[in-house]
C-alpha cells in the first residue's frame, strides 16, 4: 500500500461543473519531502485540484493517490494523512486559538498523550504563543493565517496542502512562513498555491503552472525558464552615449538590442538592459568588447535571470494563444517528461563582472 517514492500521484484528473471544465486532464507526481508550488491565474483550477486531493470534492474522472492510497476509494484513510488549509482560511470566529487547536487535535486523532506537546509545538513554530488565549475572530489577518497553518501541520501529516497560505501577511510574517515551509522540506510533501511569485520561487522545489484546467508548465524554476524564456538579458551600468553602445552591440551580434535604458545617476552611470533572442551566451565576448570600447565606461555587468513573472506570463499566454489541438500535443510533453526539458540544453547561468 505504501508507495515510498511519491506521496502524491495524480493521473489524468478531470473535474467538470456542468459545462465548465474546471480541471482538464492534470497529471503530476510529488516525491516525499518535496515542496511544490501551484501557479495559475484565478479560476485556473488550482483550488479544485487541491480539493480533489483532500477528498473534499470528487473528480469526474482520473486518479488521485495520496501515499499510494486512492483518494476516491479510501477518503477516510487519506484524511488521516493530509493537513489542509483551504482558500480564505475559514476558522470558527468564537473560539480561542488554543481551544480551536485542541479540538482539531482531537478530530485529527492525535493520541491524548501527545496532544498537549503537539499543540505547544505548533504554537511555537507558528509564533502564536502570545495569541494562544485570544479569540480567533478578534485576531488580525496575519495571526489568523498562522492559526490556519498551525492547524494544517498539527497532526504531522505526510502531505500538507495549503491554498494561498501567505495571502494578507506582512513581509515579516511571510519570511516566518517561508522558513516554516522550508523546515518541512524532506519530512512532508507540501503543495502550496500562491500569487506571490518570488515567494513560490524561493520555497518550492517544483513549480506547476496551471491554466484553463491544464498543466502548461512544470519543473524547477530553472527548467521553466529554459522552456518558456526565449531570450537572454544582460544588465549593465554604463557611462556613455546609447548610440555608441548600440554600435558596439552590433559588432557582437546584429540582433542584439538595447531593451531598456534608465536615467543616468549623478555620476552619469545608467542601468541598461540588453536583450538578444534565443538562448545564446555572449557574456564573455560582450564584456570584452564593452570593456575595451574607449567611448564607454562600464561599472558592472551581469546576465539577468528572467523573473518568474515572465515565465508565468509566457506560460499562460501560450496556453491562451495555442489552439486546443496544439495544446493537447504540447501539454503531455511538458507535463510528463520534465527531465527531458532539463537535458535539452543545460546552460549554466553566467555571472560576470
Amino acid at each position: 500500500m505504501e508507495s515510498p517514492e511519491y506521496t502524491i500521484e495524480v493521473e489524468n484528473l478531470h473535474k467538470r461543473y456542468g459545462k465548465l471544465q474546471a480541471v482538464n486532464g492534470i497529471s503530476f507526481k510529488v516525491a516525499k519531502g518535496e515542496i511544490v508550488g501551484f501557479l495559475g491565474p484565478n479560476g485556473a483550477g488550482k483550488s479544485t485540484t487541491m480539493r480533489i486531493l483532500t477528498g473534499y470534492s470528487q473528480a469526474t474522472s482520473g486518479i488521485a493517490r495520496i501515499c499510494g492510497v486512492a483518494v476516491a476509494c479510501h477518503p477516510h484513510e487519506i484524511k488521516r494523512r493530509i493537513g489542509y488549509m483551504p482558500e480564505n482560511n475559514p476558522l470558527p470566529q468564537e473560539l480561542r486559538v488554543k481551544e480551536y487547536l485542541k479540538w482539531r487535535a482531537k478530530l485529527k486523532e492525535i493520541p491524548a498523550k501527545e496532544r498537549k506537546r503537539r499543540i505547544e509545538q505548533v504554537l511555537q513554530r507558528c509564533d502564536l504563543e502570545r495569541a494562544q488565549n485570544r479569540i480567533i475572530g478578534k485576531l488580525s489577518k496575519g495571526f489568523r493565517q498562522r492559526v490556519g497553518i498551525a492547524d494544517a501541520i498539527l497532526a504531522n501529516p505526510e502531505v500538507i496542502i495549503m491554498d494561498e497560505p501567505t495571502i494578507g501577511l506582512d513581509p515579516h510574517q511571510v519570511i516566518l512562513i517561508r522558513d516554516l515551509i522550508s523546515r518541512l522540506r524532506g519530512k512532508m510533501s507540501v503543495i502550496i498555491s500562491s500569487h506571490i511569485l518570488p515567494e513560490i520561487e524561493m520555497s518550492c522545489d517544483q513549480i506547476i503552472i496551471i491554466n484553463h484546467g491544464k498543466i502548461v508548465g512544470k519543473g524547477t524554476p530553472g527548467e521553466l525558464r529554459q522552456t518558456f524564456i526565449n531570450f537572454t538579458t544582460y544588465e549593465l551600468e554604463m557611462n556613455g552615449k546609447p548610440t555608441d553602445l548600440s554600435e558596439a552591440l552590433k559588432q557582437v551580434a546584429p540582433d542584439m538590442k538595447i531593451e531598456n535604458i534608465a536615467e543616468p545617476d549623478d555620476k552619469g552611470f545608467s542601468n541598461v538592459e540588453i536583450r538578444i533572442k534565443g538562448k545564446r551566451d555572449y557574456g564573455e565576448i560582450l564584456f570584452d568588447r564593452l570593456a575595451n570600447n574607449p567611448s564607454l565606461r562600464v561599472r558592472s555587468f551581469k546576465r539577468k535571470e528572467a523573473p518568474l513573472e515572465e515565465v508565468f506570463l509566457a506560460a499562460t499566454r501560450r496556453s491562451w494563444e495555442t489552439v486546443e489541438s496544439d495544446l493537447a500535443q504540447e501539454s503531455p510533453e511538458n507535463s510528463d517528461t520534465p527531465k527531458e526539458v532539463e537535458s535539452e540544453e543545460e546552460r549554466p547561468v553566467k555571472v560576470v563582472g
Binding site: Y56, Q58, P75, Y84, P90, E94, L95, E99, R104
Partner: protein, 253 residues
C-alpha cells in the same frame, strides 16, 4: 462514531460561550411567560374546564414555529457559508457524526428551553395552593410530548439547513416543513373527503399523522406509543436525508 462526542462537546461549548444563546433563551421565556400569564388571567376571570397547565400545552405549536427554525437554521448552512465545513470535512470524521452532533446540540438546547418553562407550573401551583388544580400527569405528558416531537421538528430544521448555504433559506424551509407537518398533518382528515369511501388504512394513517391529536392525548395524561413511532421514524428519516445531503454536497463518506 468516535468523534461524535468531540463534535457534540464543541457544539455545546460554542452555544455556551455565545451571548446570543442567552439572549434567545431570555426572550423565549419572556414570550412563553406572557402566554402563561394570559392563560392564568383568562382562568381567573372565567372558570375553565381544564387546568391552566393543560391550556398551556394546547398552544405548544406557537413557540415551535419560530423556535425550531431559529435553533437549527445555522447548523450546517453557517459552516458552509463561512467555509469551515471544508476544514471540518477534511478531517477523518463522517457526515453522520457531523449531522448527529448538530442535531443533539440543538436538541439539548431545545430541551433546556422547555425545561425552564417548567418553573411556570411550579410557581402557579405554589401560589394557587389549590390541591384540586394539582394534576402532574398532564404536565409530564405534555413535556414528554414536547421532547418526543422535538426530535422530528429539529430534524426537519437540520435537513433544511443541510440543503443550502444561506441561513435565511434554511430558516424559511424549516418553517415551511414544520408548518406543513403541524397544520397539514392535523387537517389531513378533512382532505380524505376527496375519496368517496376512504379505506380503513387511510383513515388510520390520517389519524396517526395528526400531531395535534397526539398532543391532546399526551396533555391529558395518555401516553401513546404510536406517537413515539411517528416522531422517531420521521426524525430518523430526515436525519438520514440530511446525512445524504451533506455527503452529496461535501463529498465525505
Amino acid at each position: 462514531m468516535r468523534h461524535f462526542f468531540t463534535l457534540l462537546r464543541n457544539e455545546l461549548w460554542k452555544l455556551l460561550i455565545n451571548p446570543g444563546t442567552y439572549i434567545a433563551a431570555f426572550l423565549f421565556l419572556l414570550i412563553i411567560g406572557f402566554f402563561f400569564q394570559a392563560i392564568l388571567n383568562e382562568f381567573a376571570k372565567n372558570p375553565q374546564d381544564e387546568s391552566p397547565s393543560v391550556t398551556f400545552f394546547r398552544l405548544w405549536f406557537v413557540p415551535i414555529f419560530f423556535m425550531v427554525p431559529l435553533l437549527t437554521m445555522k447548523s450546517i448552512a453557517e459552516e458552509r457559508n463561512s467555509g469551515t465545513i471544508e476544514t471540518l470535512m477534511t478531517t477523518p470524521i463522517t457526515a453522520t457524526e457531523v449531522i448527529l452532533s448538530k442535531f443533539f446540540a440543538s436538541y439539548i438546547y431545545y430541551l433546556a428551553l422547555w425545561l425552564f418553562t417548567g418553573s411556570f407550573h411550579v410557581l402557579f401551583f405554589t401560589f394557587a395552593r389549590d390541591p384540586d388544580l394539582f394534576d402532574p400527569y398532564p404536565i409530564f405528558g405534555g413535556y414528554l410530548y414536547l421532547a418526543v416531537s422535538g426530535t422530528l421538528f429539529l430534524s426537519l430544521g437540520i435537513f433544511a439547513s443541510s440543503m443550502t448555504r444561506s441561513q435565511l433559506i434554511a430558516g424559511i424551509v424549516a418553517f415551511s416543513l414544520v408548518f406543513a407537518f403541524i397544520v397539514l398533518g392535523s387537517n389531513l382528515s378533512e382532505m380524505t373527503i376527496i375519496l368517496e369511501n376512504p379505506p380503513l388504512w387511510v383513515e388510520s394513517l390520517v389519524e396517526h399523522a395528526d400531531v395535534m391529536k397526539h398532543m391532546l392525548d399526551f396533555s391529558s395524561g395518555v401516553i401513546d406509543t404510536r406517537a413515539f413511532f411517528l416522531f422517531g421514524s420521521c426524525a430518523a428519516a430526515f436525519l438520514f436525508m440530511s446525512i445524504l445531503m451533506l455527503e452529496y454536497r461535501e463529498g465525505a463518506c
